[in-house]
C-alpha cells in the first residue's frame, strides 16, 4: 500500500491533494514539453548546419527559436525541480504530511497545463517570432504574430510558479516536524526556499509587464512607444526585473539537488552547511538587484551600467562559495560513481564554466562586445543545460527508487550520463568560440567561415538528444522491470529515506521527530537495519 496504489482511477489523480501525485503529474507534463522544446532545438541546429537560411525562412527560424526559448524556460526549467522533486520531497524532508495548501498545489498544476495548452495553441496558430524576450517596440508594434496568446500563456504559467513558491514558503516555515530546526533542514529545502522567494516576489512583475504589452498592442497608448512619448527601455526594466531572478529560480533548486547527491555519494556531510544555506538566500537577495546587466547596450545610463555591473560581480560570489563547499565535501570523502554522482560531477564542471563566463559578461566592457552573440547562447546553455538540466537528471535518478520503488538499470544510465556530457560539450563549447569570433545570435544565416564550428555543434546536439532519450526509455522500463528498491538504496540521510518506497499517502506512519543534524552519517549507521515507520 503506497500513495500510488491507494486509490485508482483518473479522477483520483486529477482531483488529488496529495503532493506526491501532483509531483508525478508535473513530471509527466514537463517531460512532454521538454521534448517539444528539444525538437525545436533540433530544428534550429539543423538549420544552422549550413551558412544559408535554407531549411526555413528567417521568419520561421525566428518562430522556432522563440518557441524553443519559451517552452524550455517557462514550461520546463522553471517548474522542473521545484514542481516535481520539490513538491514530492519537501514535505517528507521536513517531516510533514503534505504541503500547507494542497488545493493551491493542484491549482498550480492546472494553471501550468492551461499555460501549456495556450503555448501549443500559439504554435498551431503560427507561432510568435519576437524572441522569448518580447522586446518592445518589436513585440508591441511591428509583428503580427501571436504575441497575445503567448503573453496569456506565460501569464497563466507564471501563476502556477507563484502558487508553488508560495506553498513552499508557508510549508517550510510552518510545518516542520518537532526538532526540525532551520539548520537541520536538508540543503535541498534551503535552496527551494530561496527559489520560492524569487518566484513569489519576481513573477508578478512579469505578469504586469505582459498586461502592459497586451494593452499596448490592443489599445496602442504608447507607454513603450517612443513616437508617443513612451520608453521601450521601460519594458526591458520591468521584463528583466523578473527574468533575471528567473534564472536563479531555475538554478537554485538544481543546486539543492547537488548538495544532496554530493553528500550522499561521498558519504560525508556537506562542507560548510551554514555557508551553503546562507549563500542560497544571498543568491536570492542579490539576484533582485542585477537585472540591468541584460540591458548594457540598450541605452541605460553609464552610471546605471556601473552600478549594475558591480552588483553582478557580487552575485557571483555566493554561487562560487557553493561550488567551493561542494568540492571540499568531496575531499576525503568515500566517492562512488553512481549515475546521480556522474550527473553531479557534470554539473560542477559545466556550471563552473557557465558561471565564470557569466562574470565575463557582467563586466560591462566585455559585455558590449559579447552580448547578442553566440557567447551569450553558450553561457546560458552551460548554466541551464550543463548545470540545471544535469542537476534535474541527477535528482530524478537519485530519488527515482524512492518515488517508484524501483531501481533503474545502472550501466545504461551511467552510459547515458556520459553520452549527455560528451554531447553537451560538443554542442555548446564551439558556441563560445563562435561568439567571440562574432557570430550573432538569432540569425538563420551566418558567414561561411563559421560553418565548421556550427557543424560540430549540430553533431553534438544529435548526441545530446540520444543522451536525453535514453533515460526516458529506461526509466519507463524500470517501472515494470526494474529491481525492487528498498527504503534506502543509497544509504542516504534525510527523513524521506527513513520510510518505505514508494511512500505512504500520509508519508509517515508515526510523525517523525528530528533528533540529529543534517547529513549525519554516524546517526545513520547507528540506525542499522532499524527502520523507522515502515509498513509494507
Amino acid at each position: 500500500m503506497n500513495f500510488m496504489s491507494r486509490e485508482n482511477g483518473l479522477l483520483s489523480w486529477l482531483l488529488t491533494g496529495d503532493h506526491k501525485r501532483i509531483a508525478i503529474l508535473y513530471l509527466i507534463s514537463i517531460t512532454c514539453f521538454f521534448f517539444i522544446g528539444g525538437a525545436l532545438a533540433g530544428l534550429i541546429r539543423l538549420e544552422l548546419l549550413t551558412p544559408q537560411s535554407d531549411l526555413m525562412a528567417s521568419d520561421t527560424y525566428n518562430k522556432v527559436f522563440t518557441m524553443h526559448g519559451i517552452i524550455m524556460i517557462f514550461l520546463f526549467l522553471v517548474p522542473s525541480v521545484p514542481a516535481t522533486l520539490g513538491n514530492f520531497f519537501i514535505p517528507m524532508m521536513i517531516g510533514a504530511k503534505d504541503l500547507a495548501l494542497p488545493k493551491i498545489n493542484l491549482l498550480s498544476w492546472y494553471m501550468y497545463v492551461v499555460g501549456g495548452i495556450l503555448v501549443i495553441y500559439t504554435m498551431v496558430a503560427g507561432g510568435v517570432d519576437t524572441g522569448w524576450t518580447f522586446t518592445t517596440p518589436l513585440s508591441t508594434h511591428y509583428v503580427n504574430t501571436n504575441v497575445m496568446s503567448t503573453g496569456m500563456a506565460i501569464f497563466v504559467a507564471g501563476f502556477s510558479s507563484i502558487f508553488t513558491g508560495l506553498n513552499f514558503i508557508v510549508t517550510i516555515h510552518k510545518m516542520r516536524c518537532p526538532g526540525m530546526t532551520w539548520f537541520r533542514l536538508p540543503l535541498f529545502v534551503w535552496s527551494n526556499y530561496a527559489a520560492s522567494i524569487l518566484m513569489v516576489l519576481g513573477t508578478p512583475v512579469l505578469a504586469i509587464t505582459i498586461v502592459l504589452v497586451a494593452l499596448e498592442r490592443t489599445v496602442g497608448i504608447g507607454v513603450f512607444d517612443p513616437t508617443k512619448g513612451g520608453d521601450p527601455i521601460l519594458f526591458q526594466h520591468l521584463f528583466w526585473f523578473y527574468s533575471h531572478p528567473a534564472v536563479y529560480i531555475m538554478i537554485l533548486p538544481g543546486m539543492g539537488v547537488i548538495s544532496e547527491t554530493i553528500s550522499t555519494f561521498s558519504r560525508k556531510r556537506v562542507f560548510g552547511y551554514t555557508a551553503v544555506a546562507f549563500s542560497s538566500v544571498a543568491i536570492a537577495v542579490f539576484g533582485f538587484f542585477v537585472w540591468a546587466h541584460h540591458m548594457f547596450i540598450m541605452g541605460i545610463s553609464n552610471y546605471s551600467m556601473l552600478v549594475f555591473s558591480l552588483l553582478t560581480m557580487l552575485v557571483a560570489v555566493p554561487s562560487a562559495i557553493k561550488i567551493f563547499n561542494w568540492t571540499f565535501t568531496l575531499y576525503k570523502g568515500s566517492i562512488t560513481f553512481e549515475t546521480p554522482m556522474l550527473y553531479s560531477f557534470g554539473f560542477m564542471g559545466l556550471f563552473t564554466i557557465g558561471g565564470l563566463t557569466g562574470v565575463f559578461l557582467g563586466a560591462s566592457g566585455t559585455d558590449i562586445h559579447l552580448t547578442e552573440t553566440y557567447f551569450i547562447v553558450a553561457h546560458f546553455h552551460f548554466v541551464m543545460v550543463g548545470g540545471m538540466l544535469m542537476a534535474f537528471l541527477a535528482g530524478i535518478h537519485f530519488w527515482w527508487p524512492k518515488m517508484t520503488g524501483r531501481m533503474y538499470p545502472e550501466k545504461i544510465s551511467q552510459l547515458a550520463a556520459v553520452v549527455t556530457f560528451i554531447g553537451f560539450n560538443l554542442t555548446f563549447f564551439p558556441q563560445f568560440i563562435l561568439g567571440t569570433l562574432g557570430m550573432p545570435r538569432r540569425y538563420a544565416a551566418y558567414p561561411p567561415e563559421f560553418q565548421i564550428l556550427n557543424v560540430f555543434s549540430t553533431a553534438g546536439a544529435t548526441i545530446l538528444g540520444v543522451g536525453y532519450l535514453l533515460p526516458v526509455i529506461y526509466l519507463v522500463w524500470s517501472l515494470k522491470y526494474g529491481e525492487i528498491a528498498g527504503n534506502n538504496p543509497w544509504q542516504a540521510t534525510g527523513l524521506e529515506w527513513q520510510t518505505q518506497s514508494p511512500p505512504l499517502t500520509e508519508n509517515f506512519v508515526i510523525n517523525p521527530v528530528m533528533d540529529h543534524e543534517a547529513y549525519d552519517y554516524d546517526w545513520l549507521e547507528n540506525q542499522g537495519v532499524k527502520e523507522v515507520a515502515s509498513v509494507g
Binding site: 516555515h173 527601455i233 526594466h237 533582485f288 538587484f289 541605460i300 545610463s301 552610471y303 546605471s304 552600478v307
Partner: protein, 115 residues
C-alpha cells in the same frame, strides 16, 4: 517555544473597536489633509543645480504612507502579529522599493550624460 506562544497570541488577540474607530478617524483626517495640501503651493528646496525637491508630492506621499502604515498595523493586525509577519511585510516593501528605486536611478542618471 516563544514562537508558539506568539502564534497563539496572534490568533487570539482581539483588537478593540475603539482602536478601529480611532484609526478610521485618523484616516479620514489624513484624507482631508492631503486634499487641502494639494491646493496650496508648498514650495521647493533647491539642493543643487538640477536637483530640486518639490514639497507637494513629498507631503502627499508622506500622508499616503502614514495612512497605509495605520491600515497595515491596526486594521491588518500586523502590530499584534508574529515577527515573521512583520518581516514578510517589510521585505515585500523593500523589494517594491528596489524595483522603483533602481529603475528610476537609470532614468534620472541619463540626464547626467557621459562621465
Amino acid at each position: 517555544m516563544s514562537d508558539l506562544k506568539e502564534m497563539e497570541e496572534q490568533e487570539n488577540h482581539i483588537v478593540s473597536p475603539m482602536i478601529y474607530l480611532a484609526i478610521l478617524g485618523a484616516l479620514l483626517v489624513g484624507t482631508g489633509l492631503t486634499v487641502w495640501a494639494s491646493f496650496i503651493d508648498l514650495g521647493e528646496w533647491h539642493i543643487a543645480p538640477g536637483l530640486t525637491v518639490f514639497w507637494n508630492p513629498v507631503v502627499a506621499l508622506a500622508i499616503a504612507c502614514s495612512k497605509a502604515i495605520l491600515v497595515v498595523l491596526f486594521f491588518m493586525h500586523v502590530k499584534y502579529s508574529t515577527k515573521l509577519t512583520k518581516l514578510t511585510v517589510t521585505s515585500g516593501f523593500f523589494v517594491f522599493l528596489a524595483l522603483i528605486g533602481m529603475t528610476l536611478t537609470d532614468y534620472f542618471s541619463r540626464a547626467w550624460g557621459r562621465w
